[in-house]
Symmetry: C2
Subunit: 445 residues, 2 copies
């Protein structure tokens, strides 16, 4: 084993995991390093954020997924730097892991376009923790309105703002409008959750801009039929606790969700090579680095053009394909064969909007509404890793569809969550103060 | 509605929820106040802590459970004090809720016998958050041992310590031994998880001391057959990060779980009446306060004797019965009838130890092993609130039984979790430091 080429993979997302899977039980010694112990099925994160699914239903321990891969070690760790001269990666505690081939697949997060201070007020959606935090804020907004009405006889209007009209923004806006009108309506007795306002701000002149104009227009109409207020050509210029500024106007809101901007993992810059504005690494046609042929960058971290000159999109199928292609290239090279260029195969795209609502462009067909949604549903369940998750998700969806219930409606967090929530409404400082107090309390307790 | 007697219930655990259910759609106006938005099925918390079940499977939103109860309002809030003169309770923000009848059912937490500083090193198990924290620590211990072995060639022995041989301690110890020997064994390639040591410390001379000696002895044997090292007559006298002191000896361990001691909610003392050492309120035979007949205390907060002079035990059936009995007494009094004394009906007791392992004493029958376990399984699924949870839990168990897999093995937490974990091993201060830094980072971010 130890004489076999060592392949180190950074990141257990779609790119890294697909590479590891393609290298499973091949004549290489593989180490997959991730900061988390689990792979997340990111396309369904928004369903955790809107309490349809539980975290455990869209995430699986990496070492469980890879337990039949005898040559793959899974390591919980955070890669903080590279030592290219000694072909090693450095972990957060200073220890090193050597490689013969390195696959960097650390993904991307949302970016705040230089306004990182907005994150506290407008969380994004990339991890399970992000999704649980969104869920907490969404459910808490309804709870606090109910409480206000009980205690004071009325509540200020419930406003949810979603920033960004890409797939995540559309999914979030649609799902919130849906639960407000259906699942929550009968459980809240003081407030009428159906009066909830969901506003989706998109900077460009259409939502889901990667689709054709007719599908895009359909998506907008489907969103509006759910009650979402879609505002195009609207740039959010500032965010503060409880309000967003659009153009020159401040709009009050209970919850702001951030669904735009991409920033590749900062590890890209640590590679010491050229990156684009979003921090993506410019790679060679075989996804390797120009001066380090044994280092590959795949998935959302890679910047590469297709033959028609357009960029390979930052979507999960592209990451999967890059992971698999890189694994194949490494195996080919070991056998003395040539590496192949990476070619992205676009199998079509789809976006879901809500219950029975979606658009899809697959096999040259343009689909809208229920049929597109069925397509989306089938594909997503099919791709969810592992029988058990697949079954559970199908059951949850079937149940949610039949009953319009939402099963995973838990507000979890600290015992002081309510106080924090109330303080949160008063401003950020209070939250930080509460966290520090909590930390102190934990120490004293 | 507003002319109907107002019943305020504090706490949505078994006592409070059963009272609310018994008052549903009766001629009273009910307000249920809880700090959380969900009811937790506490008897299965240990299964979340040991990654068999997901949080969503044992918890349900209170307002969903009660959505058909037209006369019941659910309020997210923390009661901090009482204003008995004006018959009102005070919430954390100073607002008040008035009552004609008050049911205090705020439950109990584990107590550290005056050593509250032990909590950081040895978390207890009362809430979903507690369970997720235990799960994180348990799984992280295995991950860190795997990592240590990968990087350094060996790891220090994996030791888990459970303090307390009551039902929770026995369940936790059994479940950890079980996952170490089965579910995790094939997923970890560097370490042999089957060599994990689980030590259960119990201060008295037997585990599950409320059962008869023969059942108790069987429980000990069943635990030992799972590989648990049961140490009776062993008092833990001190706890520090990474070690526990038993008698005069310090024992090194990776994770310490606290499963002993009971402290009733501090609200008991705020009632201004006599409490026992654990903070339980001495109540009248109808569960009311001596000088305030319209205030009732039910569940783990109440101290009351049975006819044979023994105390009503702090178990969920007792809390349910007290909740229901109190609701009936209130309804009776409204109709001009007499209140009834509370009588606890002991329907038997059971404790689970692991897969196919349990003891039970029901209908005069003493059961051990598989048959007792089947009994336990059936009853717990039956009592889990809601069809959906019941179905999901049954499926999870069936799946876990067949495959010996554990589905909910997620380590969730902050993005800095690993660093914190590593720091945690170095001492408490580091953790608090990390939390404060995180808070600061969140503010700056």
């Amino acid at each position: 084993m130890s004489e076999e080429p060592r392949v180190v993979i950074i990141g257990g997302g779609f790119g890294g995991l697909w590479a590891a899977t393609a290298l499973a039980n091949k004549p290489v010694s593989v180490t997959l390093i991730d900061r988390k112990n689990h792979h997340v099925f990111q396309p369904l994160l928004y369903q955790v954020a809107t309490s349809v699914l539980s975290p455990g239903e869209i995430a699986q321990p990496l070492r469980r997924i890879l337990h039949d891969a005898k040559n793959v070690d899974v390591l919980l760790g955070e890669v903080t730097d590279f030592d290219k001269e000694n072909t090693a990666v450095k972990l957060e505690d200073g220890s090193t892991v050597e490689y013969d081939y390195l696959i960097v697949a650390a993904g991307a997060r949302h970016s705040y376009f230089g306004h990182d201070d907005w994150e506290t007020s407008a969380p994004g959606l990339k991890t399970i923790e992000d999704a649980v935090e969104m869920r907490r804020r969404i459910l808490l907004a309804f709870e606090l309105a109910e409480r206000e009405t009980y205690l004071k006889g009325e509540h200020s209007p419930l406003n949810f703002v979603v920033v960004g009209g890409g797939p995540t923004g559309v999914e979030l806006a649609g799902a919130i409008a849906d639960i407000a009108r259906q699942a929550l309506a009968k459980d809240f007795k003081q407030i009428d959750t159906r009066k909830t306002k969901v506003i989706l701000f998109e900077g460009s002149d259409r939502v889901l801009g990667t689709f054709t104009p007719d599908l895009t227009e359909s998506a907008k109409q489907q969103l509006e039929s759910l009650g979402v207020d879609v505002r195009l050509n609207s740039f959010v210029t500032d965010i503060a606790p409880g309000k967003v500024k659009v153009g020159d106007d401040w709009i009050e809101c209970d919850v702001v969700l951030w669904a735009t901007g991409v920033a590749a993992s900062p590890l890209g810059k640590k590679l010491g090579v050229e990156t684009d504005k979003a921090g993506r690494v410019f790679v060679e046609p075989d996804l390797s680095l120009k001066d380090h042929k044994n280092i590959f960058v795949v998935g959302d971290m890679a910047s590469i053009k297709q033959e028609d000159g357009t960029a390979v999109p930052g979507v999960s199928p592209a990451a999967m394909q890059m992971g698999t292609a890189t694994a194949k290239n490494i195996l080919a090279e070991i056998k003395g064969r040539e590496r192949a260029k990476f070619t992205y195969v676009d199998k079509g795209s789809m976006a879901t909007i809500g219950r029975s609502k979606a658009i899809a462009h697959v096999f040259g067909l343009k689909l809208k509404g229920f049929i597109a949604w069925m397509f989306w549903l089938f594909l997503h369940v099919f791709f969810l890793i592992g029988f058990r998750n697949r079954f559970a998700v199908m059951f949850e969806w079937f149940w949610a569809y039949l009953t319009r219930e939402r099963s995973a409606r838990l507000i979890t967090g600290d015992a002081n969550e309510l106080r924090n929530a109330l303080e949160f409404l008063e401003g950020e400082d209070a939250v930080v103060g509460a966290m520090q107090e909590r930390a102190k309390a934990k120490k004293l307790a």
